[in-house]
Amino acid sequence: MKHVLESVESQFEVFQILNEDGKIVNKDDMPDLSDEDLKELMRRMVYTRVLDQRSIALNRQGRLGFYAPTAGQEASQLGSHFALEKDDFILPGYRDVPQLIWHGLPLYQAFLFSRGHFHGNQMPEGVNALSPQIIIGAQYVQAAGVALGMKLRGKKAVAVTYTGDGGTSQGDFYEGMNFAGAYGAPAIFFVQNNYFAISVPVEQQTAAKTLAQKAVAAGIEGIQVDGMDVLAMYAATKHARERAINGDGPMLIEALTYRYGPHTMAGDDPTRYRTEDLDNEWEKKDPIVRFRTFLEGKKLWSEEEENKVIEQAKDDIKEAIKEADKYPKQKVTDLMENMYEELPHNLQEQWEEYKEKESK
């Protein structure tokens, strides 16, 4: 009787290009990015870090609602997104607002999403994405559907979805991959493994040594990537995208990352389940610090340049909050109008009642 688990698990290696010290350790897989592209990646990460800090502050002031902090996960989120095209369709989880913003969702709408205003979820024309999924793992089965739609329509694009380590315990996680695998649909499944599903550590989530290996059971490729390495995230995603478009099927990418902040701003205190030592250990792997070292070594980045991005982000956020404040408040009649394409006749009376109230 032959057991294979150990040999399968030992096959998974962490894919890395840029190490913690900002040195290229894997020249063979170094992506073909121009200097301008490299700088753009840095700008996006710095910008998003500022957005995170400001969003947390705005939440504390009561000026934003639901917010899931992103600091620490910039390379995972933005490196992967940088490899996508406009036609690719994103199905994000609730922490994945940055990818939406860089896919084209205006900042003020991201703020309206946080406030629960439906306009925050009205994707502008040409922004191929859903607003963030709140139900854990549900985006995985939908991604299989979106990818199937692309295949049926002959589009040269991919469906890209994100969940966390906790999401991999859901049936939908496996069912989505299995479906997309069975249909050879062009999907990329991301797991941003930040090691804690709210408070539950990943080793309590599963007996599997890696989350990437869960792809094997679905018969699709899986890879484990250093999620603090923006170049590795970009390269892995680019590779997955090319495979998917060539008809080679979906791929699972596990990004090893860490969220510095709480799970969400709704009362989570991570000191109850994480040690300061662990936090410090991960901060040494910071995606921005290592990429800065790398860029400075290439004379592509300076403090001045970074400050410019920080100021730009702050200005944009200020403007976006103003715009969100100005946007008309939602009304009960909006809720009814948005629900069905045509209002059913028995809701019509309800609608009329509220329309009259609202006119006063």
Binding site: F89, L91, F118, H119, N121, Q122, M123, L130, S131, I135, A138, Y140, V141, Q142, A143, A144, G145, V146, A147, L148, G149, M150, L152, R153, A159, G171, D172, E175, G176, N178, F179, A182, Y183, D334, L335, E337, N338, M339, Y340, E341, P344, H345, N346, L347
Partner: protein, 326 residues
């Protein structure tokens, strides 16, 4: 006019729409060469091929979630959940996703999917394959719920469902699949929210849903012999519900009974009874609105007990008589 079965009527509606609209396709377990558990999709894979008659893994969550995703891409999936009982596994995608997408996305997304649910008892499928769960679905804002009782309505409502841009839950009573009736081959649709008065009467209104329409019509014939004139109304669509037709009828007959196959407690018939009680028809009532539904147990495997668990023709006759004799 030709007679065809309820199952064939549903199939004909799907086939006709698939011939016209390349975006319409069906997915589900064993719907290909096997033709579905009840034969509804027999022959469809031969005409449309495996891309448009898509056999799926046994994976209700993925079938429904995939349908939500593909519908948002502009396709119009029709999914067959092999037995309506298995919809439990698809509930998150129907209730949390399909029903709420348009609303949450401020009207900018639509999920035009039809969920076909073979439901109901009477064929010996026992506790986990025989339930009538329409009340669960009718409870959820954002869904449309239809329940055709005959082949003609099945075809017309299926057409309406496919054309609707909201998710439509389509309840098919398994015991009706082989029932036959005149069904025109040509195009027609049954509008949502329009009930049908199946039989006019003066003494008592029975609002019946699904297979109970047929049983009530049989009961009404029986009751006619004793001089009781029963009006029978089939709402056809539960959401939206044509409550006006029901109220008008009760105002005329002064008595109302709601008959449904689902467990009486918390069933959709309770909603209909409440709506009658809250309406202007209340002042016309000679006695309280009454309900006749299934007993509160799982559906038994034993055929005698299975019959006893849901209203039969004689139960309806008895119930009406007791109301008439008050």
């Amino acid at each position: 006019m030709r007679e065809i079965t309820y199952a064939s009527a549903i199939k004909e509606a799907m086939v006709q729409e698939m011939r016209i609209d390349k975006d319409v396709f069906i997915l589900g377990e064993d719907i290909g060469i096997y033709g579905g558990s009840f034969g509804v999709t027999n022959g469809m894979i031969e005409e449309f091929g495996p891309e448009r008659v898509r056999n799926t893994p046994i994976s209700e969550s993925a079938i429904s979630g995939c349908a939500v995703g593909v519908a948002m891409m502009g396709m119009r999936p029709i999914l067959e959940i092999q037995f309506s009982d298995f919809v439990m596994i698809a509930m998150d995608n129907i209730v949390n996703q399909a029903a709420k997408m348009r609303y949450m996305f401020g009207g900018k997304t639509q999920v035009p999917m039809v969920v076909r649910l073979p439901s109901g008892s009477g064929l010996g499928f026992a506790a986990q394959h025989s339930q009538s769960l329409e009340a669960w679905m009718a409870h959820v804002p954002g869904l449309i719920v239809v329940q055709p009782s005959n082949p003609y309505d099945a075809k017309g409502l299926m057409k309406t469902a496919i054309h609707n841009n909201n998710p439509v839950i389509f309840f098919e009573q398994k015991g009706l699949y082989n029932t036959k009736a005149d069904v025109p081959e040509e195009e027609y649709k049954i509008p949502l929210g329009v009930a049908e008065v199946k039989k006019e009467g003066t003494d008592l209104t029975v609002v019946a849903t699904g297979i109970m329409v047929n049983r009530t019509l049989e009961a009404a014939e029986e009751l006619e012999k004793d001089g009781n004139s029963i009006e029978v109304i089939d709402p056809r669509t539960l959401v939206p519900l044509d409550i006006k037709t029901i109220i008008e009828s009760v105002k005329k007959t002064n008595r109302a009974l709601v008959v449904y196959e689902a467990v009486e407690r918390g069933g959709y018939g309770a909603e209909i009874a409440s709506l009658i009680g809250e309406s202007e028809a209340f002042d016309f009532l000679d006695e309280p609105v009454s309900r006749l539904g299934g007993i509160a147990t799982p559906i038994p495997y034993n055929p005698k007990l299975e019959k006893a668990a849901v209203p039969q023709v004689e139960d309806i006759v008895k119930k009406v008589k007791s109301m008439m004799n008050k």
